[in-house]
Each structure stands twice: as C-alpha cells, then as structure tokens.
Symmetry: C2
Subunit: 240 residues, 2 copies
Amino acid sequence: MEKPKESNVDRLRNAILDMVHEMSLGFGDKLPTEKEMAERFQVSRPTLREALKLLEQEAVIDVHQGKGRFLAAGALLNIARPITKFESVSQMVSSHGYVAQTQLLGFASVAADSVTAARLSLPEGAPLIRVERLRSSGGQPLVYSVDWLPRALFGTAFETPDWSGSIVAMLAEMGRHPVASTANVRATLLPPDVAELHSLQAFGPALLIEEICYAADGTRVIYAMDYHRGSAFSFSFVRK
Amino acid sequence: MEKPKESNVDRLRNAILDMVHEMSLGFGDKLPTEKEMAERFQVSRPTLREALKLLEQEAVIDVHQGKGRFLAAGALLNIARPITKFESVSQMVSSHGYVAQTQLLGFASVAADSVTAARLSLPEGAPLIRVERLRSSGGQPLVYSVDWLPRALFGTAFETPDWSGSIVAMLAEMGRHPVASTANVRATLLPPDVAELHSLQAFGPALLIEEICYAADGTRVIYAMDYHRGSAFSFSFVRK
C-alpha cells in the first residue's frame, strides 16, 4: 500500500528517530533540548511536543521531569516501525533505511476466487486486477507483493496506470484513498513457484502481511499480500 | 508470558470466536441472536454486547441494523489473535486450537550482557535467570522460548519455582504481575545450534516476537524471545 500524505506530526516523529540513529544515541542517552530540536526541524514547540509525546507513548523516550528526555531501553525494540501504522510499502521500506526500486513483475485482469472475493466483499467471479511487484534495494530483493483491486474502480482504463508507481496515490487521485486496513501476519517462505520464476531462492524466511485496505467510506479497495524479507525488516507494537 | 486473569469480556469474545469456528460460519453468515448467545454463554445481555462490540471493532462482525450480526469478510483475517493483546503464550497457543505441553529445556543463573541489561533496564553484568522452554502439541513443536528475569526478584529461592508452569502467574503471586509489554516481530529461522540441540530442524520459518514485559509499577520483569512456528500461528491487527 502507498499512502501519499503523512501528517506533520508523524513526519516529525520519523525525523526524530532518524536523528537518534544519526547521533547513535543508545539507552539512557539524553536527547537534544526542545529548543535545539525545534530549531533543527524548523517546527513549533507544540508540534514538536506532540511528536515527542507519540514517541513517549511508544516507549522510545523516557521523560525525567526537570531533567529532559532520554532514550528508553524500549527504544531498541521500538525504533522499528509500528506494525499498527497504515503506510505505504515504499514509506515503510525507506523508513527502514533502504532506497527502494519497484519492479513490475506482472499485472492481469482476473476473476475473483472465493477467498479473494470475500476479502474484497465482492461476489465470486467479480473482475479484479492483480498486480505483482518486487521492491529491491541495491540489487537485494526486499518485498514481494501481490495486490488485488476491484476492476470496477478503473472503468475501462486499467491498462493505463503506471503500476510501478504508488497504487495508493493512484487510488487517492480517483477519490478512493485507502486510510486503514485489517491485517494478519505470519512467518512463511515465498511460494516455491514464485521463488523459482523470479530467482528469489535466497529470499529466506518472510514476514507475510495480508491486508484488506479500506477507503474512508468503508469500501474495500485493495487486498494485498506483502512478503517482507525476514532478514531486512522488523515491526514494533505495544501489548496490553 | 502467562497472564493469570482474563476479563470476562475477553473470555466471552474468545468463546464467541470458538462458537464461530464450531458452527463453521463463513463470510456473510448470520450469528445466533443475542438471546440465544446470552443463554448459550450464560451471561447478561450488556456483557454479551460488550464482547460483540469488541469483535465489531476488530472487523470480525458486521452489524446490519434490524437484521442482526453477520460474519464480516475481515473475520477471515481477524479470527487470528490480535498481536496487540498481552496474554500468556499458553493462552495464545490454546486459543489457536492447540493443547500445549510445556517442556523445560533448561534454566541457569547468568550475568546480563549489554543488550539484555538494556532491555531490562539493569546494569551490565546484573544477575539474571534464563529459562529455555518448548511448547508442543501432539508431539509437534510450536513455540521455542527463552525468558530472562532479574535474579533480584527471586531472593535466594530461584531454584524452587516450577519453571514448566506459568512464569507470569508466578510473578503475579510475588506481586509483580506483568500487565503490558513493548514488542518487536520479525521472521527468522531458529538459531542453528538450538535447532540441532533440540532436534527442531523441521521447525521451518518462525515468527520471532521479542518482548519486554512490565509490571503495573513500570518495572521490567521479563525479557522474552518467543519463536512461533510459522506454519502454526498467525496474528491479526488493525492499521490506521
């Protein structure tokens, strides 16, 4: 999934994490002062505090009253991306520090099988578009994805879009911006035929995220299976 | 992690999911009426509605005003356990439909290395207890776990506890009940030496959850690495 817009606060949160990486801060290290960070990022203090609050809630930062903000031990776990954040695969890949290229492996018009139809809340046999892509960085394959979209979204123009670009951005332009998803994660290997066809035998264990993406009006616009290379990605979350 | 108590509403939520499995309900199928479910589960209507509301929020159930409750397409994804729920490995294993046996592979008193010390917010070299266990069902290995606990929690009695039982229940009895965690998930293989030593070569890809567990007062009481057999488990979540 791609998501064209990220709120200022989210962007700032990510910039603070980048700063933590750049400064090689470890557990117990003090972050720069509010004043220094507001200047560095050219943002207002209230916006900065909102982003810092997010990181505090994610247990990345500990606040010691009167002393400042310190990197929490949890930061080691939490600097990975929150698994509960809806964002594009491209954003997720780049936030892990990779510069990604997208390779279009194929697209086709297909009839929905029973499972895919149920995922997209469509009748069995409904026309879908199936898009198969590979994200790589420096020649290393990172994410193998298959996306299914209702054919009806595209009118007669489904061969026109540039499928190597952001599907979410494309949907947003069509007024169908995906804003949330329900998802499922497990560990698996790439399907053997896929690994062979695309020379991905060395991909290793994959974190498979299956996802149904919803537009703001609740309609289902994408069903996606994203295989994240296990050695390259991890995701964080809080359990209560 | 073990968690001794589950709220009535959570328990009822899980019982409703079990019922959905038992009745082999699929997408679009109607659930029994509120009256039928209240009788079946011997609970009050407000408690029942609270559990159903949870399932609605998790996109397992669709409510059609005046018509009743129906299994949502998302149910197929969401009947897996929410990854954001803090619960014991035993509870999680049994909610996936397995009857688990716990095998104690080893325990030892060790000095904290830098990473483990940071995870538990202790100085490097602090004394820890390391517990290594395997959950299986019907002879099939399901979860390989290593837990580290601050030695200081146990006074001089650390050899006494029954490490094949619930660590969380044990901590609860000691007034250190873990109530939440920060965690990280990735796909990997078992460490080769572990696989060989414990004859787990056929375990396959694992969903590794690394977790820092917190007692109610915010102290860190467990650092755990749980390798979930990929072919046996999946977890659900919502992205926004």
